[in-house]
């Protein structure tokens, strides 16, 4: 354990807590609106940076680096999808989904699915699938936190894991008072500086890009190929398609991302956020993969590929910088885990418990259900992460491919295809999730050279179209939903700029006024 690293790690947390106290005293968090990350109190640039940095999970630091280290330039396929993911998502489901979700009065993404595809089964299936698969995503954060903590403190993995899971759980239960926009923004700045520093130090250490490529070629020239080490994926376009799709459109299956889309008030806000996000992703998303590739030369005898970025930082950066950057990484991991746990808790309490078991459940019971589920996830997650920790990269790819395959066609067709009905959506959700899941666990991906995301998505898309068309007569889309879709899609002769600035928060008032005044 390097004492300088530890001192600066503690220093970082003291500063973050100090900013939190300052923000509270300043009045930035004395009312509920003050907690809005994307609210009026911070500008679009700060908002975008904060949103991007808090969505950067342990995957970026462990998963992305490990894939670069393991497979070389093949890993860039994943980065390519990720760079444009924000804009693609906002363009496909952006304005219409925001408006439709407001019109249908949906609080959660699962509730939105049930409102659009009205049947209890929609909510039950979507809720259970989401809770089950998001558990794995939280598990990835636990493992990342445990490994990072072990490196910084020098403690055994099991002790570090226990501390990391403990901190995440406490943060989830009590974290509200420090999770204000100011602390998240500070954290994002530190992460940017940290990544830039690691990236620059790595390139400098290897003598520039050309020298790095020559050195990598000496070890194994296939690392430089887009087909992966040993040309493992040569001409496997099904794998390539999946690798690009997973982080470009697969995000749309994540309920916390969809909820964020639902919360944006106007297309103009979304457009600006998309622009800033893409600029951020251009560098921030690519850098960890490249550092992982450079780690092939910098730390060639690395035992655990997931530690590539941590070990590179440890080897090349001054102790003080390592401490601060590690703290920022840990904070990012905690923040992501905390957001997912809160989402899972809400889905369990609102979308499952209250909807199916106790419709008159009070606040106390709802919070208790959320807390118990979060506790259960913490305990199970700790045990799994301790006894048989899977790779962070594998977990994130697994989770995203299943959730993306399950929900992407249902979300997209919800606003773009009026004939998409309940049987179509349910069969698409089940079919897409099942194929992606089986493709992941049975080794079908390796046997067929088709990525689980690609296989799951194709099946899911085919099912929503075929089943919806086959059941139009027996399960027509209800009139009020057709009307809401028309309302959400309305453009007409309205100038683009005015349309882009329209506030979806006023959709219900506009609908109420129209209903009242129309003959």
């Amino acid at each position: 354990m390097n004492p300088i690293v530890l001192v600066f790690l503690i220093f970082y947390y003291v500063v973050v807590v100090g900013i939190g106290f300052w923000a509270v005293r300043k009045g930035g968090a004395k009312d509920l609106e003050g907690y809005l990350l994307g609210g009026r109190k911070v500008g679009p640039l700060v908002t975008a940076m904060t949103l991007q940095s808090t969505s950067m999970s342990g995957y970026m630091f462990l998963g992305a680096g490990s894939e670069g280290f393991r497979a070389g330039y093949w890993a860039i396929w994943y980065a390519v999808g990720d760079i444009g993911g924000g804009v693609v998502n906002l363009s496909i489901i952006g304005r219409r989904m925001r408006k439709l979700s407001k019109i249908l009065g949906s609080l959660t993404s699962i509730e939105y699915l049930e409102n659009r595809y009205p049947h209890a089964a929609t909510r039950l299936i979507a809720g259970i699938l989401t809770i089950f698969f998001l558990f794995f995503y939280v598990l990835a954060q636990f493992i990342a936190g445990g490994k990072g903590m072990a490196l910084v403190t020098g403690l055994p993995y099991w002790v570090s894991l226990l501390i990391a899971v403990g901190i995440i759980m406490v943060y989830t239960y009590l974290g509200g008072y420090f999770a204000v926009a100011y602390t998240d923004f500070f954290q994002s700045i530190v992460m940017v500086i940290g990544v830039v520093w690691i990236f620059g130090a790595s390139l400098s250490y290897v003598g520039g890009w050309t020298a790095a490529n020559e050195a990598i070629a000496q070890i194994d020239p296939t690392y430089l190929s887009i087909w992966g080490k040993g040309l493992q994926y040569k001409n496997a376009w099904g794998e390539v398609a999946g690798a690009v799709l997973i982080f470009s459109v697969g995000y749309m299956g994540w309920p916390h991302v969809v909820t964020r889309h639902m919360a944006m008030s106007s297309p103009k806000t979304a457009r600006m956020a998309g622009l800033y996000s893409t600029l951020w992703n251009l560098f921030f998303v690519t850098a960890p993969y490249i550092v992982g590739i450079l780690a092939i030369i910098i730390v060639p005898n690395l035992g655990d590929p997931e530690m590539a970025i941590f070990e590179v930082a440890n080897k090349l950066l001054p102790g003080a910088v390592v401490g601060i950057v590690m703290a920022a990484i840990m904070a990012a991991i905690m923040s992501t885990a905390d957001s997912i746990l809160l989402q899972v808790g809400t889905i369990a309490s609102r979308d499952i418990f209250q909807r199916f078991f106790k419709p008159d459940a009070g606040d106390k019971q709802m919070v208790l259900v959320s807390r118990l589920l979060v506790l259960l996830i913490g305990v199970i997650g700790f045990v799994v992460a301790l006894l048989q920790p899977p790779g962070v990269f594998s977990i994130v790819v697994f989770t995203t491919s299943v959730l993306g395959s399950a929900f992407l066609p249902a979300y997209v067709c919800a606003v773009w295809w009026k004939k998409a009905n309940t049987p179509g959506a349910i069969s698409s959700i089940i079919g897409g999730a099942a194929i992606a899941f089986l493709w992941n666990v049975t080794g079908a991906a390796a046997a067929t050279a088709i990525h689980p995301m690609f296989a799951g998505l194709v099946v899911s898309i085919v099912l929503i179209f075929l089943v919806s068309l086959a059941t139009q007569k027996s399960s027509p889309v209800p009139g009020h939903i057709l009307k809401a879709i028309d309302e959400a899609a309305k453009v007409g002769s309205i100038p683009r700029e005015m349309l882009a600035s329209a506030d979806a928060n006023l959709s219900n008032a506009a609908r109420g006024v129209a209903d009242s005044l129309n003959p």
Binding site: K490, G492, E497, A504, A509
Partner: protein
């Protein structure tokens, strides 16, 4: 027939509403047609959470749309008693009791996600009032006689597309 109702004090007058829309590019002419009032249940809560640093209190303002029974968070604002023609009031379709339940559910959801905590806060109602929010209905027309309507928020000046079938109100 006129009726006394509580309304949120407007910030945007008729000229400003038209001016806000004129600022957008496009060759259309905005023409303010009328002012209408939309019904909400407004509740001001004081949320209290016990943490290891002691009690913390947070204000929360919830507006429940009394036509659709859908809640949202809001800023603090002043309201005044106003006598207005009944025809300018949009009729409420949700009872205050149902709206209150919606507000409580929404408040818990917002508190958990915006404060990012799983603590159960105790909420005390500081003030509750059925209030009406002013909106301007603006008809826009271009050179090709194409028309559309816009609803302008009388408090914030923000707007939304209004799907009206006729031109005359």
């Amino acid at each position: 027939m006129s009726k006394d109702v509580h309304v949120i004090s407007p910030n945007i007058d008729r000229n400003k509403a038209a001016g806000l829309l004129s600022a957008y590019s496009g060759s259309f002419l905005p023409q303010v047609q009328r002012l209408i009032y939309y019904p909400y249940l407004w509740i001001h809560y004081l949320y209290s959470v016990k943490t290891f640093l002691g009690h913390r209190s947070i204000r929360a303002y919830i507006l429940v749309d009394l036509v659709h029974n859908i809640a949202s968070t809001a800023d603090a604002f002043e309201h005044t008693l106003l006598s207005t023609e009944e025809e300018s009031l949009i009729r409420a379709k949700t009872s205050v009791e149902d709206a209150r339940k919606t507000a409580e559910t929404y408040l818990l959801h917002s508190a958990i996600h915006k404060m990012k905590t799983l603590l159960l806060p105790s909420a005390v109602v500081q003030e509750e009032q059925v209030i009406y929010k002013p909106f301007w209905i603006v008809r826009c027309s271009d050179r090709r006689r194409r028309t559309f309507h816009i609803l302008v928020d009388g408090i914030t000046g923000k707007h939304e597309i209004l799907n009206l079938q006729g031109d005359d109100l």
